[in-house]
């Protein structure tokens, strides 16, 4: 078998990959921010001690964590049109699904992060007269998020890899770009080879960044 790499050039990037890369990065960013916000709300609901809040949150997290992501993506995309009466498109569908799915994972990270803050810190806040929400806002969450940053960023790298699953609903992401290019040039093997290298380089360099940040944000103890 002869490999032909002659189509590895700027035109390949411009015509096939750029659009997909942009969507993959946007999806990662939106799902991370949305997932952390929603995940923090879910974590606070689970820790609230109010059954009315904690039970639905627990069910939601357990459900999402027990279903493969690709199925959630597919089901949401297929079911939405019959619920709201019209198709919402692959991209919007992907954004919503990823936020909803990642929230479950981020909520577990946030919950563990809150749990990592010693009880004495909360007691000290209470003793000064801080309310429950003030204690969370000023004492517990700022420390918890600092402890969580490495894990949150690692989850974001996994999330970036997972964006490739939108192939199931035909959205045009980075992997799709390689697939289309491979078909176009009649060189699918070379295209997927390059895809592997690009995903590796992006994820590997991101994990190096995480390590750098980890040592920067650590609280002096």
């Amino acid at each position: 078998m002869e490999l032909d790499f002659s189509f590895y050039n700027w035109d390949l990037f411009k015509n096939f990959l750029q659009k997909g890369l942009l969507f993959s990065l946007q999806l990662t960013l939106v799902a991370t921010v949305g997932g952390i916000v929603l995940g923090t709300i879910l974590a606070l609901m689970r820790l609230s001690g109010q059954k009315l809040l904690s039970t639905p949150a627990t069910w939601y997290v357990n459900l999402m964590r027990s279903i493969p992501l690709v199925m959630v993506i597919l089901w949401f995309f297929l079911l939405m049109p019959s619920i709201i009466g019209k198709s919402i498109g692959a991209e919007l569908s992907a954004y919503i699904t990823f936020i909803a799915f990642e929230a479950a994972f981020f909520s577990e990270i946030v919950r563990a992060g809150i749990g990592s803050i010693a009880k004495g810190q909360t007691a000290a806040g209470q003793a000064l007269g801080l309310s429950y929400s003030q204690n969370m806002q000023y004492i517990v969450l700022p420390q918890a998020f600092r402890n969580m940053i490495p894990v949150l960023m690692t989850q974001t790298i996994i999330l970036f890899q997972d964006t490739s699953l939108v192939y199931a609903i035909g959205a045009y992401d980075l992997l799709k770009g390689f697939e289309v290019a491979g078909k176009n040039f009649g060189r699918p093997i070379e295209a997927y080879l390059l895809a592997a290298v690009v995903y590796f380089l992006i994820c590997f360099s991101l994990s190096r960044v995480v390590r750098k940040i980890q040592s920067k944000v650590a609280i002096i103890r």
Binding site: Q121, G125, L128, G129, Y138, Q143, R146, I220
Partner: protein
């Protein structure tokens, strides 16, 4: 009327009694040392005073406010009762100045400049003004505990609770914290201190409460406690003899 009135306070987990029928009064300006073997309920007892530990029976009044009453605003009560913890519990992500001002700004709704002025006044009083911009992790244990005392004083509390304030310190740092506490006592602060520092008790306390197995066994003046041991309970005698041996 006493500043703190504790009447028949009991606390239990299931069938395990943590506190049994504890009653005592604490007058304005009084310095009371609470001692006893570990697990005797000393820390739990003082934490019932600011509602950090709930109790199942009895009543506690702090300056006319009932702690156990569900209608009582615990945040308001706690802002008037200072507390110093065994492990300091400064907020490690905030600078010393921010530690001193957070509750003043968020709970007492002071404007930041007033809060900083108040914070630095007390930081100066504990002799650490030059460390105002540092983070807790950059200070020694003794310094951290002095900042923690200043943080509590910033709220201008009516009473200060100390929960074994020197137990987590290296021996050479105990003195600097005790000096601050002695000064505070001499300035007339009402203080309740759980401590094993009998030197402190002899020097500044007015009264000693001795606890064993969740009960207040002795509640007497320091002279009665230290110099009239013949009239003390067997458990208190045993405890005293162990302390003297050290």
């Amino acid at each position: 009327m006493p500043l703190i009135q504790m009447q028949h306070v009991s606390k239990w987990y299931g069938s395990f009694a943590v506190l049994t029928d504890c009653s005592t009064n604490i007058e304005q300006g009084e310095v009371v040392v609470v001692c006893g073997p570990s697990g005797s309920g000393k820390s739990t007892l003082i934490k019932t005073i600011n509602g950090l530990e709930p109790f199942q029976a009895g009543s506690i009044m702090v300056d006319g406010i009932s702690v156990g009453d569900p209608k009582t605003s615990l945040t308001l009560l706690r802002s008037q009762v200072g507390m110093v913890f065994q492990n300091f519990e400064l907020f490690p992500h905030l600078s010393v100045t921010e530690n001193l001002t957070l509750a003043q700004i968020k709970v007492m709704k002071k404007d930041p400049s007033t809060a900083i002025a108040q914070g630095l006044k007390y930081l100066d009083r504990v002799g650490l003004i030059e460390h105002k911009d540092k983070f807790p992790g950059q200070l020694s244990g003794g310094q951290q505990q002095r900042v923690a005392i200043a943080r509590a004083l910033c709220m201008q509390p009516k009473v200060m609770l100390f929960d074994e304030p020197t137990s987590a310190l290296d021996p050479e740092m105990v003195g600097e914290v005790l000096d601050v506490m002695v000064q505070l006592a001499q300035d007339g602060m009402t203080m309740i201190c759980v401590t094993h520092e009998m030197g402190f008790a002899k020097k500044v306390s007015d009264r000693v409460i001795f606890m064993d197995q969740g009960k207040i066994v002795e509640d007497c003046t320091k002279d009665e406690f230290f110099n009239d041991s013949g009239n003390r309970s067997p458990r208190a005698k045993e405890f005293l003899s162990k302390i003297i041996q050290q």
